[in-house]
């Protein structure tokens, strides 16, 4: 009976943050007289927060391993500058410029990784240095705003899935994607459940699983239908982010590299004594963070249609906040990408809801700060209670 209670408690904590997202959405739906849920707002929410979502994917890995990365905002500006230089000044075709940006991202990640992993300087210091260095470099190469990217490049962020056929007044392709998503989710859950039963592992109760699936499926269907409405659309970015989430969730949950990240963050001494190459793992974490920063830079530059050194201020803090709201442990060892994504969306919904409601930006900032504190406090208190019980 105890294990049943544990599993419920664990699930509640795990999904509690999703409940928080639902509450925040419901609150602002009422607060903005339903405007928040307008189809174009739902799509814009993704677009506006695409950079946080992408950066938070990498930041989860960094924080789970017990590090922090303060440089990603500056990196976005710097790599944006590289893009601008390549396309505007050198007249490179934009796909080649994107290739260059990704390579630069990897190199910068390797730079940070080298100092953290092999010289063993705390990541806080290495990336604080990176924050200054790359902001400086960004000012050098993109001190003057560079505009005039070609349409192809702009399409990365503003492009949307073409509307090919309709079911009623809803876009068919969008509905198909949503349906595939729900089917994939149900299939993967059932498959892992049957594998668990085969190996005699206790599973969560069937009712709990079905309930969970129904809630998530309803959410996907609701968003899909909203996006399929005439005024809605599916941005390419949503697909890109979806693919990134899938890839990196796989990396964290299913690969040796991912398991080593959790091992290092959970107990560094035990990881070393288990023969885990902690230096290489730490190095690779920062390389991935560099790559994701480059992707964020491409998206941000594409959205702005220009490269400027001022872009990306405080992006690192947004990404870190998303992780912590999403249940990543400050001390490392615990955290999931899904949690960080929900954390980012909570902040995004807050932003959008408060903006639609014409709340003073100063008040918005204050509210966001309090939400961050409240979310982490709730998480800690619930864990403490679980320990007592």
């Amino acid at each position: 009976m105890a294990s049943f209670k544990d599993s419920i408690g664990g699930s509640l904590r795990q999904y509690g943050i999703m409940g928080a997202l639902v509450l925040v959405v419901a609150f602002f739906a009422v607060f903005t007289n339903g405007m928040l849920l307008n189809p174009d707002n739902v799509a814009t929410l993704i677009l506006q927060n695409s950079y946080v979502l992408i950066l938070a994917i990498g930041m989860v890995m960094v924080i789970v391993a017990g590090h922090i990365d303060l440089s990603v905002g500056s990196l976005v500006a710097f790599i944006g500058g590289v893009l601008g230089w390549a396309v505007i000044n050198w007249h490179w075709p934009w796909p080649m410029a994107i290739g260059l940006a990704l390579v630069v991202g990897l190199l910068v990640g390797a730079w940070h990784g080298f100092w953290v992993a092999y010289v063993r300087i705390p990541a806080f210091i290495v990336t604080l240095s990176g924050m200054l260095v790359f902001r400086g470099l960004a000012l050098m190469i993109a001190g003057v705003t560079m505009a005039g990217f070609d349409q192809g490049f702009i399409q990365i962020s503003s492009g949307k899935l073409p509307q090919t056929f309709f079911i009623g007044n809803l876009d068919g392709l969008t509905l198909i994607i949503g349906a595939v998503g729900v089917a994939g989710l149900v299939f993967s859950q059932l498959r892992s459940r049957s594998a668990q039963i085969k190996h005699g592992i206790a599973t969560e109760s069937l009712g709990l699983m079905i309930g969970k699936l129904v809630v998530i499926s309803v959410a996907i269907v609701a968003v899909t239908v909203r996006l399929a409405e005439p005024r809605g659309f599916v941005p390419y970015l949503l697909l890109l982010i979806g693919v990134l989430i899938l890839i990196y969730s796989f990396v964290l949950n299913r690969t040796v590299f991912g398991r080593h990240i959790y091992a290092i963050g959970g107990n560094l001494n035990a990881a070393i004594l288990s023969g885990i190459n902690t230096a290489r793992t730490n190095f690779m974490i920062f390389v991935h963070m560099g790559l994701l920063s480059a992707i964020a830079a491409i998206v941000v530059t594409s959205r702005a249609g220009a490269a400027t050194a001022q872009v990306g201020q405080n992006y690192e803090l947004d990404a870190i906040a998303a992780c912590f709201i999403g249940g990543t442990a400050v001390t490392g060892g615990i955290g999931r990408i899904s949690g960080a994504m929900v954390g980012a969306l909570i902040m995004g919904v807050l932003n959008m809801g408060l903006s639609i409601g014409k709340v003073d930006p100063a008040v918005q900032q204050t509210i966001k700060g309090l939400v961050l504190l409240g979310a982490v406090a709730l998480d800690l208190l619930s864990k403490r209670r679980a320990k007592v019980a």
């Binding site: 040796v256 035990a270 023969g275």
Partner: protein, 513 residues
């Protein structure tokens, strides 16, 4: 010296889950004497002192503590310190990057209205340093002085609290002979100034020289209290008291079926990682055969863990020299990865710090040292992982609801099995088990011994490090004794007695004294 007791502890009993740590202990200390407590590791010495100093608060034990004729119901260290009872732990409680003076007055600052009077603090610190015979500037940082001097700073810190009863837990374990001698002299001086001392030590020679009375504790019970002069206490008598317990069937039957030599270490020398002059392991030689369980007996601080960890991926020490052979071929164990690849496994004595990731599941802990076996192109086969974890769970009889449960929810014995399972899964040729039964109850110990026997039956070479001599005599075919970093002898099980081993284990310390 005064014959009336300053301290009386009557009928003290204390239980931890599954273990009776203290059983109706009666213990008296006369005012102004140096009173030594000796016993094996785990006999209950430290527990008794923690009761006295309030670390184990009033109510967690039964019995009465009377100090200077008044009952003591200490709830914390603050309460005992207010009465002038100060304990100095084996792990020194000094802050490395603060000065001597700052450390001496830590938590006891020379301040008025929260503002520290540094002139006063440094002046008083200098006086205290003079009392303990330490010629250092009070503004020197703790990191810049040696361990011996740090002990003296601890004593000065106690004096600053107007100590009347000073308790020292293994004060000389980490000191060289000169520093030990100086420390003991300071204790004699303090005694003459009227400070009563209780000292816990493994170094029997030094106890007999410095102490006025000696209490021997074994298995949570007081065996005897000797007046050093009147009773003519000698080491033989102390050792007999410390180890003289009966051996019954606490160990499973096992027949050694020994093959050829698997593991050999030659001329292994290790220096202290910070104090590079200090030799922690001195030209150690040992060998283990296939299917053989070999013991390594050593007291705390003898260099046993240092020997094991320096072999295993050089995770301890500096200036390491010597050669490790596997089946007669020299192998490199420079990194843990190499050591594991070459067939070594090391199960740490401190499973919570060095063995397990407490926030992960049983399964993830078990497979963490050999994920390569379960993955292709870096992708883990989760089904294979679960299967492997379940098999290990059955083989080692780990009691857990499922392998998905967090390892932190398991009992100590089962956690120990998980950390053993983790290394069994790497399928090593040589297993080094450091204190494999520390802190677990008798039943779980028996099961661990069975697992060790099974490993030997499978042809593994097993090295068991322990300070519990009956355990080594009960399960090992041969036992090496380690004293002050030197291997002082190897004994066959048939010829092994605890007295003989204890003599070997203290041989170098006796030579020094």
């Amino acid at each position: 010296m005064n014959e009336t007791p300053i301290l009386e502890m009557n009928d003290i009993s204390m239980e931890f889950p599954g273990v009776k740590a203290l059983s109706e202990v009666n213990f008296q200390v006369r005012a102004g004497e140096i009173h030594a407590i000796c016993g094996e590791n785990g006999a209950g010495k430290s527990t008794l002192m923690k009761v006295l100093s309030g670390v184990h608060p009033y109510g967690s034990y039964s019995g009465q503590v009377t100090y200077k004729g008044e009952a003591c119901n200490f709830r914390s260290i603050r309460d005992s310190e207010a009465r002038g009872i100060v304990i100095i732990h084996q792990e020194l409680a000094l802050i490395p990057f603060l000065s001597i003076a700052e450390n001496i007055f830590l938590g006891n600052e020379r301040a008025s209205h929260g503002i520290i009077d540094w002139g006063q603090a440094n002046k008083q610190a200098a006086e205290l340093l003079a009392r303990v015979g330490l010629a250092e500037n009070p503004s020197t940082n703790i990191v810049d002085i040696g361990v011996g001097k740090q002990q003296l700073v601890e004593i000065a810190k106690a004096l600053a609290k107007r100590v009347e009863l000073l308790i020292l837990d293994e004060p000389t374990a980490a000191l060289n002979d000169d520093d030990s001698e100086h420390l003991l002299n300071i204790l004699r001086l303090l005694r003459d100034e009227g400070v009563t001392c209780i000292i816990i030590s493994h170094k029997l020679g030094e106890i007999i020289r410095v102490a006025d009375s000696i209490t021997v504790i074994r298995d949570g019970q007081v065996i005897e209290t000797l007046d050093v002069v009147a009773d003519q206490a000698d080491e033989e008598r102390l050792i007999k008291g410390m180890v003289g317990r009966e051996m019954n069937s606490r160990f499973p039957e096992h027949h050694h079926n020994v093959g050829e030599e698997v593991f050999r270490v030659e001329d292994w020398t290790v220096h202290h990682p910070v104090d590079a002059q200090r030799v922690m392991v001195d030209r150690a030689n040992l060998d283990i055969r296939a299917g053989e369980i070999v013991g390594l007996a050593g007291l705390m601080g003898s260099g046993r863990t240092e020997l094991a960890m320096s072999i295993f991926g050089r995770t301890y020490g500096a200036n390491i020299s010597g050669t490790v052979y596997l089946r007669g071929v020299p192998i490199s164990t420079h990194t843990v990865e190499l050591a594991v690849r070459n067939g070594l496994a090391y199960v740490s004595e401190d499973r919570k710090r060095y063995g397990l990731n407490l926030i992960q599941s049983v399964k993830e802990n078990k497979t963490s040292a050999a994920l390569g076996k379960l993955s292709k192109y870096g992708v883990i086969d989760k089904n294979a992982e679960t299967k492997a974890a379940n098999k290990l769970k059955d083989d080692l009889r780990v009691k857990t609801p499922t392998v998905e449960s967090p390892v932190s929810k398991l009992s100590g014995g089962n956690q120990q099995k998980v950390s053993l399972a983790k290394w069994v899964f790497t399928d090593p040729e040589v297993l080094i088990l450091d204190e494999p039964t520390r802190g677990i109850d008798v039943g779980a110990k028996y099961e661990i011994y069975q697992i060790i026997n099974d490993l030997a039956t499978d042809g593994k070479a097993v090295l068991v490090i322990s300070s519990e001599l009956p355990e080594l005599i009960g399960i090992c075919r041969r036992i090496y004794a380690l004293s002050e970093g030197r291997i002082t002898g190897v004994v066959d099980r048939a010829g092994a007695t605890q007295e003989y081993l204890m003599n070997l284990m203290t041989q170098e310390t006796k030579k020094a004294s």
